[in-house]
Each structure stands twice: as C-alpha cells, then as structure tokens.
C-alpha cells in the first residue's frame, strides 16, 4: 500500500508546482481556464478517425511546459497513469471495426486501429492540458476562476471538496489496508468477504475525518468563499494569451494545416 501513498504524495506535488513563479503562473486563472476549455473542446470535436490533424495541437502543452518551467517527465508520468483506462475503453475498437482505411503494401490498417490511436492521442492532449492547468494555477485558484466565470458557487465548492476528499480517502485507504495486510500474514486474509466491511468502514471513517477537517476550516472563518494569495486581474496580457491561443486552436480545427504542409512538401519534392 506504500504505492498508494507515494502516488498521492506525487499528486500533491502538482499543487506545489503551482506555487512557483513564471509568466504563465502570473496570468489570471480565468484566462488559463478558458484557454484550456477551448483547447479541450477543439481536440475532442475531431472525428473518430482523425489522427494527423491532432498532432499540431501538441504545441500547446509543449509551449506551456517550457514557459512555466514544469518538469516534463513528471507530467508525462501522470498522463501515463491514465492511459490504461483509455486503453480499456478503446481496446475493442480494432476487433469490431475492421473497415480497411489504409493499405501499405500487404499491411492493411483498419479503422479500429486508427480510432484507438486517435483516442490515445486525444486523451494525452486533454489530460495533459488539465494537469498543466492545475500545475500552473493550483486547484483552489481553478475553482475560484470557475466561480468568477459564472459557475454556481455550490458546484465550485463541491469540486474543491471532492479534490480534498481524494487525499483524505487515500490516507485512510493506505492505513486500513496496511492493517489488513499485516493481520492476514501474507495470505489472502478473509478474501472478498473482508473487503465489504473494509469499504464500509472506510466510508464512515473518511466521512468523520472529512467532517473534522470541515470543522477546522469553519473554525478559521471559511464561509464557502475562495481566497487565493495571488492577486490578479484580467488585463492586457491575459487578453493576448486568451486570443492568441484561441485563434490558433480554431485555425487548427478549421484548416488542415498538417495536410497543407504535407502537400507543400510533396509539391516541392515530387
């Protein structure tokens, strides 16, 4: 269960990254939230067999990671953590979708393989963008930005608490399952039957603990409003950031830039 603990501490590091200083960190959170939203929408809106036109979108995470000074390997590892789930979703595509789309000599590539690859690329882009958003902004600031953009306060607070609850839950899981492991002497313990009550206890314990944390927050004057230390306003640089990226994403979505480039190249070198 050490692995769960390590994974959680690793995840907490994302919030710590948001503390550093860079031109990207200094931007108002709303600009970053909006740009991320436009980015994700453009990436997701492509057809299921689209692959080549997605690739230019990698410029966004690359530029953001470079400008914000985020550790690229760390982000890649976080994305890799998600990829098994994506694989599970798309694994049956090659089985069911056998329409041949491309023929390279004897090798026929079916639509299923293309859509699986497209799914992987899209998940990498969107999940990566979300991680970059939190790593350059901090979760509290993201929630605050959502609220200032017009999401009802209740939802924003819920989101913030959900994020905190992950850590509470992981803490309790690691200590409970360690206790179970130690008393099952390297065997399976009572097997599945013991898991039922373990999960039940976990729910109750995390509930109580979450309540204690909430009490501590109330005791320090929390009334459901967010405050972040970074004071920022939506100024000229935010506007440039927002417009620049939005125009690029819309252009990449509307025009087949990689295709045009390819044509240009093949035109020059026939």
């Amino acid at each position: 269960m050490i692995s769960i603990n390590a994974a959680v501490i690793d995840l907490k590091r994302l919030d710590l990254l948001a503390e550093s200083d860079s031109p990207i960190h200094a931007l108002d959170a709303r600009a970053k939230v909006l740009v991320t939203f436009v980015f994700i929408t453009s990436v997701v809106s492509f057809g299921r067999y689209e692959l080549a036109r997605l690739l230019p979108f990698f410029i966004f995470p690359a530029v953001m990671i470079a400008l914000a000074g985020l550790p690229p390997l760390y982000i890649v590892r976080k994305i890799a953590l998600i990829s098994p789930f994506v694989l599970m979703v798309g694994l049956l595509n090659p089985v069911f979708d056998r329409t041949v789309l491309y023929q390279i000599g004897q090798l026929a590539i079916s639509g299923g393989w293309i859509s699986l690859a497209s799914l992987l690329v899209r998940s990498t882009l969107t999940v990566g963008a979300a991680f970059i958003l939190v790593g350059t902004t901090g979760f509290t600031a993201v929630c605050q930005a959502l609220e200032r953009l017009g999401i009802p306060q209740l939802f924003a607070v819920q989101l913030l608490f959900l994020h905190r609850y992950i850590f509470v839950l992981a803490d309790e899981i690691s200590s409970s399952s360690r206790a179970r492991e130690l008393r099952s002497c390297g065997k399976k313990g009572l097997g599945v039957t013991s898991f039922g009550s373990l999960v039940g206890h976990l729910l109750l314990r995390t509930w109580q603990r979450a309540e204690r944390i909430h009490t501590a927050m109330l005791a320090r004057g929390f009334v459901g409003r967010f405050h972040t230390r970074r004071q920022s306003r939506f100024g000229a640089s935010e506007l440039c950031f927002l417009l620049g990226w939005t125009i690029l994403f819309i252009a990449l979505r509307a025009f087949d830039i990689s295709g045009t480039l390819g044509l240009l190249l093949t035109g020059i070198f026939p």
Binding site: E19, I213, M217, A219, R220
Partner: protein, 256 residues
C-alpha cells in the same frame, strides 16, 4: 467591554443517539486566565471545547464571549475571537504548503497582499517555524505540525486560545518547547489535557469534568492535592506530585 471573557451558562449537549455528553455546565473564565479542563476519557472535554466557537451547537444553555452571545449571526465574529487548535494537526493542516495553511484564516478574514505576508511571517516566527513556510504540511514531524497548527490560529489574532490536548503525541523536548511557547502568550487560554504535569505548570485554574458534569472548579494545586476527588473522577495526581518513582516502587515491593 472585553472580548477575552468566556462564559458558559447551564450548557447541555445531547448527541443525536441520546447520549448526554454535557449536563448543566457553567463557568466564567476571565481575561488572561489559563484554565485546564481535565477528566477521564469520554468525560465530555472535547465536546465542551467544540461549543466554545460554535463547532457544536448546545442543546440548551448559552455561551458568551465577552458581551456577545453565541448565535448563528455572531458566529463569524466569535470564530475570529476564539482560536481553536485541534487535537490532530493533520485535520487542521489541509493546504498545499505551510504558508498557505497559515494564510487560510487571514484570507477568510478578508485581508490581502502585504498584510497577509506580515501576519503569516509573524505567526510562524512566533512559534519558531519560519523555516518551514515553503514545506508541505505532510512532510513535517509531529512537533512541527503542532507548532504550525498553533501558528494558523495566531495569524488570525484571536484573543482566546482554545487547545485540545496540546502536548499529546510530542516527544519530551518538543513538549517542553511547546510549554515555554504557551507560557509566553498573553491570551486567555483554555486547554484540555491528560498531561497533568503540563496543567500544573501552565494553568492556575482547573475544571474537572466527570460524566459530563463539573465536579470541581478551583486553583490547580488545591485540586491536585485532593486525592479523593481525583480518584472519584478516574484521575491521578500529576507524576511530579507522586513522589520518587524508585522509592514508591520499593515500598510497593515490600508490601507485596
């Protein structure tokens, strides 16, 4: 008018399952007093403490902080006046870094910019934790966590300091350091503790709770000399008042 007075009038708390946790508790703690609330496990200490800043609402009775009655509308004001340090610092430290954690209270009070910086730095320096400001709370040791938890309350400049088991889980050195620190504070202080030696050192007045009711309220040294009362409330004299452990042991051996 003083904000530093805490008064409970006929306080009663019944939990939803029917357990009577506190019955008819009344006391008045005045400016600058340092008071210990002691009692066996389950005597109602923590429940009583949680009433002082409205974390729990009394079934009957009143809490007064200075001239303010604790009600729903006065709650924000009272929570600013009464700073509460919880027993488990892990429940109290929930932000990504120590700095942000200490800044949480002042930010909620509506402060900003340099004032926040000043308050946080002052509070951390006060508890000797200035060097921990950039660290994440879960990487701290028990003693450091406790000190940061106290700083989170100091930063709110509360007038009254309420602490649940301040010395529990600390090593002897960290415990002594914490006691020196608490001794310096000019606040009105209210502690619950099983560490009766700390109570003897820090608190001039002691209130004994037993099964939810006040059994005694008076000067600490008088109460600790009353062995019959302590035994009736499932308590013992502080170790420092129990005489030499070696002599005691040899006399016990002789008896058996």
């Amino acid at each position: 008018m003083s904000h530093h007075i805490v008064e409970a009038k006929n306080l009663q708390h019944v939990y939803p399952d029917g357990t009577i946790a506190i019955k008819d508790v009344s006391f008045r703690i005045t400016h600058g007093e340092s008071v210990a609330i002691i009692g066996a496990n389950g005597a109602g200490k923590s429940t009583l403490l949680q009433h002082l800043n409205g974390c729990l609402i009394a079934t009957a009775g009143e809490i007064w902080i200075g001239d303010t009655l604790l009600t729903k509308s006065t709650l924000p004001d009272i929570r600013r006046t009464v700073g509460m340090v919880f027993q488990y610092p892990d429940d109290q430290l929930f932000m990504p870094t120590v700095f942000e954690d200490v800044a949480f209270g002042p930010l909620n009070q509506g402060l900003s910019g340099e004032e926040i910086d000043r308050r946080v730095t002052e509070a951390l320096e006060r508890v000797g934790a200035g060097h921990l400001r950039a660290k994440p709370p879960y990487h701290l040791s028990g003693g450091e966590k406790k000190r940061v938890a106290i700083a989170t309350v100091l930063a709110m400049s509360s007038d009254i300091l309420v602490m649940d088991e301040p010395t529990s889980g600390l090593d002897p050195f960290a415990r002594r350091q914490l006691m020196y620190l608490l001794q310096e504070f000019q606040h009105t202080k209210i502690f619950t503790s099983h560490d009766l030696d700390m109570v003897l050192d820090l608190c001039g007045r002691t209130i004994i709770l037993h099964e939810g009711a006040i059994m005694a309220d008076g000067p600490t040294d008088e109460i600790f000399r009353n062995e019959a009362l302590l035994t009736a409330c499932r308590l013992e004299k502080p170790f420092s008042m129990q005489g030499c452990p070696l002599c005691n042991r040899s006399s016990r051996h002789k008896k058996t």
